[in-house]
């Protein structure tokens, strides 16, 4: 496959994913798994490491696509390789005491430095940190606030369902409770997010 047809295929795939086509994502996922798995295994990782790294990488890609902010200057394959390579390198350096970690690269995945992957990764890291803080804040919030908020915002349940689930007398009490919980969550979240 020459590069123009490859790019065209990539663009089609990205459009499909952006439109929420799960089959397209599945196809993409299957397509590039062998490459990343091989790369990680070759660089003293296990199958599980490979899976983690690959899922992380696909996540970065997927979120960028969904946001519509992906600016791809190369093939998806190269982009994913660059992202996963970076992720694995980071894990390796934190895992091993050796500072100079050298990776065995597959030459056919081309130049991976000018893919814009670095910036996307920084962005993704920032987001990860935010989510981690949020998850922590939710844990500290305690019941029933946590399940209430998770139910409403994370699981997209309706207020009626939540009212019944938590045994409130009517939807308005549940709503008031929700807003109170939200104010407490705000304090917890911004306190730890700003200081970090």
């Amino acid at each position: 496959m020459d590069s123009t047809t490859a790019l065209a295929a990539d663009a089609q795939l990205i459009r499909a994913i952006q439109g929420g086509d799960e089959r397209a994502l599945s196809q993409l996922y299957r397509l590039h798994w062998p490459m990343v798995s091989h790369f990680v295994l070759q660089n003293s990782g296990t199958e599980d490491d490979a899976r983690d790294v690959y899922q992380e990488g696909v996540m970065v890609f997927y979120e960028k696509v969904r946001e519509g902010s992906l600016e791809l200057s190369c093939q998806i394959k190269t982009y994913l390789y660059a992202v996963c390579r970076r992720l694995w390198l980071k894990r390796l350096t934190t895992k091993s005491r050796l500072h100079g970690v050298r990776l065995l690269d597959d030459d056919d995945y081309g130049p991976y430095l000018n893919t814009g992957a670095e910036d996307d990764l920084h962005e993704a890291e920032e987001r990860d940190r935010r989510f981690a803080t949020m998850s922590e804040a939710l844990t500290h919030l305690g019941e029933p606030c946590r399940s209430l908020l998770e139910g409403f915002y994370l699981l997209d349940k309706s207020m009626q369902d939540l009212t019944a689930e938590h045994g409130y007398t009517n939807a308005d009490t549940a709503k008031t409770q929700k807003y109170k919980c939200l104010t407490r969550l705000k304090k917890l979240f911004f306190a730890s997010y700003k200081e970090a």
Partner: protein, 390 residues
């Protein structure tokens, strides 16, 4: 006074567009006018936005996990299908390698660590060989002469070369330069004696070690070329044969070879060429085993020197009982000689090998009863210098 929760209710309604037009305009005006309210609103937005995004992320993660498991399942499924197809065809098309779980682990481990293992293995191998070689070298340098066993072949060449150099220097000094043709000097010399009347000789194996050519010289300076018939390193015995055409067989040999063992304390003597002239040495048989308990040798208390090797060892009756081999440097007066029984056995075994000339060992002893000087007079014609050229 509105609480924060009340504001949140308001914000949410505003976000969803549930506010009436008047209230909406009112809130927008207040947001642009009141920076504190505005900040509260942005915080609210950020918080709910993050919560929603977090929910989205969790869903995505689940989706991707599902994708992974589906992919793994799909990888295994086609294998089954192929097998089914193969059954239908009754022979297997492109048989798929099925790998067990442990084997896959092993493969992963191998592919992950093969470089490290390779280096480790080669270092180990290298270390082993270095150690072995080092030990060997060390033993060779320190322990080889420590055996204290000195083989008694004379290193003629070294001495002669030194003498030559001296002569040349002297010649230079006196100015009478003669063009001396470079004489080929024998490197080692030892002693040998006749085994049969028709040209077989015996000497020590170490004397002829590494020999290019051998020259045998009798007391009356007649020289014969000789060749090695057999060398037995283990018992330090060698049998030579004179190959000159003009060689006339000896007269009858005056001594016989003793097939049995000699007794302890027997008076023994030898003739040899540690220097140009034949030298007589006398002593007693002091032990019936040699160096390090080697039963193939006798220990004798005869003072012996390099060049004596290969000389005959005779008892008082003129029976040949041994072949001089070596001496022990760190023990006083301990020399070793190969027992004649081994020589006799060697000759017997060689007889079966269709020799060029048959071996006729002497049967009659003409030395018995004679005085020592008479014995020596008859004996010395059968003792030779063996010169070794390399």
């Amino acid at each position: 006074m509105q609480t924060e929760a009340d504001y949140y209710a308001l914000f949410e309604a505003y976000q969803r567009g549930e506010l009436a037009a008047g209230a909406r305009a009112d809130l927008e005006a207040r947001l642009s006018a009141d920076p504190r309210l505005h900040q509260r609103y942005t915080e609210f937005e950020e918080l709910t936005g993050t919560l929603r995004a977090y929910g989205e992320r969790r869903r995505t993660r689940q989706t991707i996990n599902a994708l992974h498991t589906a992919m793994l399942a799909a990888e295994e499924a086609p294998a089954d299908m192929e097998e089914k197809q193969a059954e239908g065809l009754s022979y297997s098309v492109n048989p798929r390698l099925s790998i067990s779980r442990t084997e896959r682990r092993l493969r992963e481990f191998w592919s992950g660590h093969r470089a490290t293992m390779g280096v480790a293995a080669s270092v180990a191998v290298l270390a082993v060989f270095c150690t072995l070689l080092g030990l060997d070298l060390w033993r060779a340098t320190t322990a080889a002469p420590a055996s204290g066993l000195r083989e008694l072949r004379g290193e003629v060449a070294r001495i002669t070369r030194r003498t030559d150099a001296l002569t040349r220097k002297v010649n230079n000094v006196t100015g009478t330069i003669e063009s001396v043709a470079p004489v080929r000097v024998n490197k080692y010399s030892g002693t040998g004696f006749a085994l049969t009347a028709d040209g077989y000789l015996v000497t020590s194996a170490h004397v002829i070690k590494g020999a290019d050519s051998l020259l045998v010289e009798s007391r009356d300076h007649r020289r014969y070329h000789a060749e090695t018939v057999y060398a037995d390193r283990k018992h330090d015995l060698a049998i030579l044969r004179i190959k000159d055409r003009n060689f006339k067989p000896f007269t009858k040999l005056p001594y016989t070879f003793k097939a049995g063992q000699a007794d302890l304390g027997e008076r023994v003597y030898t003739l040899g060429y540690p220097r140009e002239d034949v030298v007589y040495g006398e002593g007693a048989l002091s032990a019936r085993s040699g160096y390090d308990g080697d039963t193939a040798f006798y220990q004798v208390s005869i003072p012996l020197n390099p060049g004596n090797s290969g000389g005959p060892l005779l008892d008082g009756q003129g029976n040949l009982i041994g072949v001089v081999s070596s001496r022990q440097d760190d023990v006083l007066g301990a020399a070793f000689a190969t027992k004649s029984s081994y020589l006799v056995r060697l000759v017997d075994s060689l007889k079966n090998k269709q020799p060029v000339q048959p071996y006729h060992l002497p049967r009659a002893n003409q030395l018995a009863g004679a005085g020592r000087p008479q014995q020596l007079k008859r004996l010395q014609d059968f003792v030779f210098v063996v010169k070794v050229y390399e």
